[in-house]
Symmetry: C2
Subunit: 124 residues, 2 copies
């Protein structure tokens, strides 16, 4: 046993590149885009309709970032007018499984969280 003595459980530490990656693929919109692309590819405007709250600008940057990190693939279909298809890449799919685990976690703990919020808000 070495000198880092607090009870194990995290052998991993959060180094900058790791934190940055999670930051890029796990943000507010990326979660939903990833979730929407689960299973079947979607077009740009299909994604917009599927996630009404997202603006065109945000969707664009989100898709670009996900593509840059290899989470999704961008396919320009040879038709007129232009059609672009987005689909999850294999790596993105492994991430998607973790995202699903997170969503399950939220459903399981939502009531407790809401109770905690009520208690907190009442006190302050």
């Amino acid at each position: 046993m070495n000198d880092t003595a607090h009870a194990g459980a995290d052998l991993l530490q959060v180094t900058e590149p790791h934190r940055e990656l999670l930051d890029q693929v796990l943000d507010k919109w990326s979660l939903q885009v990833l979730d929407q692309l689960c299973g079947r590819p979607l077009r740009f405007n299909e994604l917009r309709r599927a996630i009404p709250a997202i603006g065109q600008k945000s969707l664009t940057t989100t898709l670009r970032r996900l593509e840059r990190n290899g989470m999704i693939e961008r396919l320009v279909l040879p038709v007129r007018p232009v059609a672009v298809e987005y689909r999850v890449a294999p790596v993105g799919d492994t991430l998607n499984q973790l995202v699903d685990a997170l969503l399950q976690w939220t459903t399981q703990n939502m009531t407790e969280v809401e109770l905690s919020r009520k208690r907190f808000d009442a006190q302050n």
Copy 2:
């Protein structure tokens, strides 16, 4: 079989409250705070030193939000001058396990991600 016909895998959909919760407990700083508090409690300034990049303001709001959602507990110790101890609550601990899974995922896929980034950046 009903009319939502794309291949299963996600039975969960991202509803607003769920998305909002993940947004509050899974953001950039919350991840690191949660990770730091894993196992042992820490004081305010201990957290600051453990996460040098975080500002005092951001740390405060992050801790408040985590507390409000029930992820951590805030203990004011009866000493002079004031001492405050932060520790993960049981719910937060279940979240922490998912965060650890995410960190493992980043370590496993970091090289592939970096390759993807190089390819992307070279093209644009």
